[in-house]
Structure formats: structure tokens, C-alpha cells
């Protein structure tokens, strides 16, 4: 991020200048300028209140070196049933490790100037979204024409791989679906070593299009993951997106979903498991701009150790967006006395005849259910893990692809205290 180090230099600013000379010159320079205006967020900044970014603020971030993916490391991100995998390391494409680009899928690097990034949502108040624009070198453009489908789920894997210096990297995923077109896109974010990553996904759906999107956050505990998801939907389209956090140190997602056409449907989901002092932060805006749209938000977190989760979400219902049906839910299960959670739902409604509900709960394992399992011979620690899984399952069961659910189960069970006796067979529903 653009901060002055002790020597009063910002290594990233120089990199942004160099990138601006090659592509998106005005856009990068404007983003960099905005970054300077916004500055590094502090705890007094309401939008970052619960993110502990101090250590990240004191770090001199560099652009990552050119690197290729380690095949062994990549294997950990395999998800069966996704034959098409595009691999990126430090924001750059690793062609040797990747599949051939399927029809309708292109790399962004040769066409950054013409792609018109950032046209879906206004993230101008978010410094990390600005950083993402300033630093973007590559990404994926998925364009599916009217009535067609992306034949197979597309799996995009991004690894951050620092050498000597802590690195900042980003990747842009742009999904543009024509009328009644469909696509399923999975993103995996991983990597080891100190990194600041700013994923940004922009989704535009024409009438009746359907997009299924999942983002898996699987970094090690030295990564600050500050991501964004922007979507804009025409009438009758469906966007389902889920952010699954099973890694990272601080994992923040801002999402803006704009339901522009009548009868559009958006489902935004989140699941996260804490580990150590991991913080999971979601900041969501769902805007009902047209009549008869439905939205569903459900965010669930399992919080062991000193981990924490914060959820701030607003449902905006525009003038004339009658028949809006919006549900927003945030649930947290505290698995340790040191875990914390915050929920802040907001409704802003300018239309009549709308149905908006929100619910937020924070609780512990139900003692009645725990006794029931123990009375059947299940050890207490296993019973607790089983009930924690049961809590998570409501979101996990909605994740696309059985293989992705199994993959997640392995990741979650590996981090869930007491889950040694459990296996991925738990995903049997």
C-alpha cells in the first residue's frame, strides 16, 4: 500500500508509475491519487473498525516477482470436476501450469485499456479497491453470448509467492453474460508468505442470465486479503456468490449487488472459520433498484481461538422497487471465550409493499444437542465439532459442485477443534 517507509519512499508508487506507462495510464494514476487521499485505513475509520491493519500499515509492500506455480503446491487447490484451470502467480498468468483457454474466456493483460474495468460498482471510497485498479496486470474476461453456456466450471487459481519482500498483488475477474447465458466460476486464493492481495470480481448479467460464483480464501496466516465483488443484474437474472474463508489473516470482502431489472435474484453467502487471530470482515450492499427482485444474504462464521468476524450489510430499496423481497442473516458460533463477533444490519427503504427481514445471532454450542450426541457415545470434543459443522452446513450445502463441498469439508475439519474423528463423508446431504 502506498505508505512512506522510514526512508520516505513507497515502493508501490514507483511500480504503479511503471505500470501506468504501459496500460490504463489515467485510470491507474487516478486510483493512486485517490489512494493518497484516502490514506491507510485506521481503526477510527468506520468501514475498517474491526480490521486490525496496523501491522499491514507498517509493512513496505512491493510488487511481486515473476514466478511460476509450484506443482506440489498447486495440487492442494485441485477441485475435481473443474477441468479448466487458469493459474496466476503474483497477479500474472502462468501459462505452463494452466489449461488452454476455453471459448468465451480471454486473458485481460493484452486488453486492459479496452475492457473498461470498474464500471459495475463505485468503490471509490475503498482504498483496497483503488489499489486493485492501480496494480492490476492480468485477469480473466468471461464473455458468454446470448443463450449460451460456459460448458464447464472455470477454476481460477491465484497464488501469492513473495521472495524477499512482502508483496501486494491483485487479479481481476470480469464476467459478462448475455441474455439467458450461464456460467459457473470458482476462484481459489492461496499462497504463503507475507502478502496483501486485493481480488476484484465484476459481474454483469443481461436478462435471464445465471451466474454461479464461489471464492475460496485459502492463504496462510500471513496474508491480508482485501477483496471486492461487484454485480449488476438485468431483469430475471440470477447471481449466486459465496465467499468461503478457510485461510488468511485478515479477510475482508466488500460486495455491491445491484438488482437493476425487474425480477432479478441475488444470493450472497459467506462462510468462514477462524484460526488463531484471523479476522473475517464482510461489508455488503444489496440495492433493489427495480420492482419484484429478491435477495438472500446469509453469512455464517465459526470462531475458535481469538478469531473474530464482523458483518455490516445494507439493503437499499429504491423508489418504485415495490414487491422487493430481501432477507439478510448473520450468524456466528463462538467456539472459544476469546472469540468475538459484530453484526450491523441496515435497511434503507424508499418503496412501499416490500418485505425486508434481517436477523443476527451470536451463540455457543447448544448444550441440549451436545448432550444428545454424547449420550450416543460420541466424545465431547467430536460432538462439538459435529455441531459446529452442522452450523456451517446451511451455507456449505449451497456451494456449487459436490467436489468443492468435499474440498471445503477437508479444509474446515482440519481447522475445527476436535474434528479428528470426522472426515469428508460428513458432506453426505
Amino acid at each position: 500500500m502506498c505508505i512512506k517507509t522510514l526512508d520516505n519512499v513507497c515502493p508501490l508508487c514507483d511500480s504503479i508509475d511503471a505500470l501506468a506507462a504501459k496500460s490504463m495510464g489515467d485510470q491507474r494514476r487516478a486510483a493512486c491519487e485517490r489512494l493518497h487521499e484516502l490514506g491507510w485505513p485506521s481503526k477510527n475509520d468506520d468501514a475498517f473498525k474491526y480490521c486490525n491493519l496496523k501491522e499491514a500499515a507498517d509493512t513496505a509492500w512491493h510488487l511481486g516477482p515473476n514466478a511460476t506455480a509450484d506443482r506440489g503446491e498447486l495440487a492442494a487447490f485441485d477441485i475435481k470436476g473443474t477441468d479448466v484451470r487458469l493459474i496466476f502467480v503474483n497477479g500474472r498468468f502462468d501459462a505452463a501450469a494452466s489449461s488452454d483457454l476455453p471459448e468465451g474466456v480471454r486473458l485481460l493483460s493484452p486488453m486492459l485499456n479496452e475492457t473498461h474495468l470498474d464500471r459495475v460498482a463505485d468503490f471509490s471510497d475503498d482504498p483496497f479497491a483503488q489499489l486493485s485498479t492501480a496494480l492490476v496486470e492480468d485477469g480473466v474476461l468471461i464473455e458468454v453470448p446470448d443463450g449460451q453456456s460456459l460448458s464447464k466450471p472455470l477454476h481460477i487459481v491465484h497464488l501469492s509467492s513473495p521472495d524477499a519482500d512482502p508483496i501486494a498483488s491483485t487479479l481481476r475477474v470480469v464476467i459478462r453474460l448475455g441474455r439467458n447465458a450461464t456460467a459457473c466460476v470458482l476462484e481459489s486464493w492461496g499462497g504463503t508468505g507475507p502478502a496483501l492481495v486485493t481480488p476484484m470480481t465484476e459481474v454483469e448479467l443481461k436478462e435471464g442470465a445465471k451466474c454461479n460464483h464461489a471464492r475460496l480464501v485459502e492463504h496462510d496466516d500471513q496474508t491480508w486479503h482485501m477483496g471486492g465483488i461487484a454485480s449488476r443484474q438485468a431483469a430475471g437474472s440470477t447471481f449466486e456468490s459465496v465467499v468461503l474463508t478457510v485461510g488468511g489473516r485478515t479477510v475482508r470482502t466488500i460486495a455491491h449487488a445491484s438488482l437493476d431489472g425487474e425480477g432479478a435474484h441475488a444470493a450472497l453467502r459467506g462462510f468462514g472459520i477462524g484460526d488463531g487471530d484471523r479476522h473475517i470482515n464482510s461489508r455488503i450492499l444489496v440495492a433493489h433498484m427495480a420492482p419484484g427482485c429478491t435477495s438472500r444474504e446469509i453469512f455464517k462464521h465459526l470462531l475458535p481461538d481469538q478469531s473474530s468476524a464482523a458483518f455490516a450489510a445494507r439493503i437499499f430499496v429504491n423508489h418504485g422497487a415495490h414487491g422487493t423481497d430481501a432477507v439478510q442473516t448473520s450468524r456466528n458460533l463462538l467456539l472459544s471465550p476469546d472469540a468475538k463477533s459484530w453484526s450491523r444490519p441496515e435497511l434503507e427503504i424508499y418503496a412501499d409493499d416490500v418485505k425486508c427481514t434481517h436477523g443476527a445471532t451470536t451463540g455457543e454450542i447448544d448444550p441440549g444437542a451436545l448432550f444428545y450426541l454424547r449420550a450416543r457415545g460420541v466424545p465431547e470434543s467430536t460432538a462439538r465439532a459435529l455441531l459446529a459443522w452442522a452450523f456451517a452446513a446451511e451455507v456449505i450445502n449451497e456451494v456449487p459442485l459436490q467436489s468443492l463441498r468435499s474440498h471445503l469439508a477437508r479444509r474446515i475439519l482440519a481447522q475445527l477443534p476436535g474434528a479428528e474423528m470426522l472426515d469428508e463423508g460428513i458432506v453426505s446431504l
Binding site: A369, L373, G377, V378, A383, A390, A393, M421, L422
Partner: protein, 254 residues
């Protein structure tokens, strides 16, 4: 040796004494029934035996095959052979009955030094035992007790009992909310499991269940104590006359 031996058991919850010196001995192969009015302590007794930690034991002992149960946590009691069929079975979303039961069966088998059941052996057992209570095996792929009807929940409890092969089975109002057909199915499932080694404690409000699960001994629980014990005819007498005559006799005797 007796299978279950309860002596002078006192238990309280939030400072209120519920069981006030209860004694009861069940021999292997026997079926005992406990009847009593609401609030007499029937469910408390079942939960205290199974080890629910909200109850405080202030006095007395509970032995299973001579081992002190009160020193054990609920899972160890289950592994030693206690099974409680819950009056209100808990719903667990997101975990299929099969997966949950496989976890339970294998924890209990490990305790008994038996190998884990493989998938084939487990499913074979599931099929066989589900048939005992006419439970549709497809139901077992659904989350534990979620979306089960009242009758299905009670049958599922008896099915779980059959899967875990306990030595001392406690049924807490397994007949409540059942129509006559479902009652017969539940009773039949229990009777299939009767054996010379296994004991049963059947807690019920109604004599009707005992027409199908015929007890060796019937006890009347009143205000935390067993005040009368007799044969199966005692249940008929209670059905006819209610509890007040016993309450009066106890009051007169005191």
C-alpha cells in the same frame, strides 16, 4: 450381579431437589416400568442416569454392572451400555443420520475393542435394524431428526438403540404423541431387542404402551421417590384409578 442398581439417589436442579432418595434395582433381562404424575421426576431420573450435567447429584449411587456411573461423563456411560431414548430427540441440521450413527457406533466399538465397521458392514446393519421399526432407510440420509414426523422421531430413537446395542435401555415416554399403529411399531422394535442380558426401563404416562412391552415390574414415582412397586397389574390399577389414591395412602402412612 444386578444390571442397574440405584441407591438413595438425590438429585437437584438449580437448588430444587427433584429426586429425593430413589432406589431401584434392575436385573439382566428384566423390563421395569416407571409411571407417575407430571413433575414426579421421571424424566429427571432418565437424564441423571444418562449423565446430563445440569443435574447435581447430592447423595446416593448409580451402578451399572457394578461400575459407578456417576463418575463417568455421558459418552462413557453410553459406551458402558446406557442408552436413553429421548422424549424430545434433538434435530441436527447438516449431518445425516447415517454419518452421525457411524460416528457413534465406531466410538462405542472402539471402547469395546472392536474394529471399526466398514461402509458395507455398517450399511448392512442399518438396513437390518431400520426394518425392525419399519423406518425408510432413505430417511437416514436426511439430517438427524430434521423434518421427521413425531412418529418417525420416536422410531428413529428405537432404531438408534438397535444400532448401538446397549445393555441398559431407558425409554423416556417413547409412546408420547404416537397413534396406535406407530405405538405398535415402536413396541415391536423394543421387543425385538429384549434379551437375557439386556435390561429396560420404560418411562410412561400410560398403561397402553405396557400392553405391548410387558414389564416385569411396575414402579410408581411420586415426588422424587418410588412409593410403590408391583407387577404389570399395578399399571392397570393406575390407569383405572389415577394416582390420587396412592398419594393419599402415602400421605396417611407418613
Amino acid at each position: 450381579m444386578s444390571l442397574l442398581e440405584i441407591k438413595n439417589l438425590h438429585a437437584s436442579v438449580e437448588g430444587i431437589e427433584i429426586l429425593k432418595g430413589l432406589s431401584l434395582t434392575i436385573d439382566p433381562g428384566q423390563v421395569h416400568s416407571i409411571m407417575g404424575p407430571n413433575g414426579s421426576g421421571k424424566s429427571t431420573l432418565s437424564r441423571v442416569i444418562a449423565g446430563e450435567e445440569t443435574y447435581k447429584i447430592t447423595e446416593g449411587s448409580v451402578l451399572l454392572n457394578g461400575k459407578n456411573l456417576l463418575d463417568m461423563n455421558p459418552e462413557d456411560r453410553a459406551r458402558e451400555g446406557i442408552f436413553l431414548a429421548f422424549q424430545y430427540p434433538v434435530e441436527i441440521p447438516g449431518v445425516s443420520t447415517k454419518y452421525f450413527l457411524r460416528t457413534a457406533v465406531n466410538s462405542i466399538r472402539a471402547h469395546r475393542d472392536l474394529d471399526e465397521l466398514d461402509a458395507y458392514g455398517f450399511l448392512k446393519l442399518v438396513k437390518e435394524k431400520a426394518a425392525w421399526v419399519q423406518l425408510d432407510p432413505a430417511l437416514l440420509d436426511r439430517p438427524v431428526n430434521e423434518g421427521f414426523s413425531g412418529g418417525e422421531k420416536k422410531r428413529a430413537e428405537i432404531f438408534q438403540m438397535a444400532m448401538l446395542e446397549p445393555t441398559m435401555c431407558i425409554l423416556d415416554e417413547s409412546d408420547s404423541g404416537l397413534d396406535i399403529d406407530a405405538l405398535r411399531i415402536v413396541a415391536n422394535g423394543v421387543n425385538q431387542q429384549r434379551s437375557p442380558e439386556r435390561g429396560f426401563l420404560v418411562i410412561t404416562h400410560y398403561q397402553r404402551l405396557l400392553e405391548y412391552i410387558v414389564p416385569d415390574v411396575v414402579h410408581v414415582l411420586l415426588d422424587g421417590r418410588i412409593v410403590r412397586s408391583g407387577g404389570k397389574e399395578l399399571a392397570l390399577e393406575l390407569e383405572e384409578k389415577g394416582y390420587s389414591w396412592i398419594e393419599q395412602e402415602v400421605a396417611a402412612g407418613a
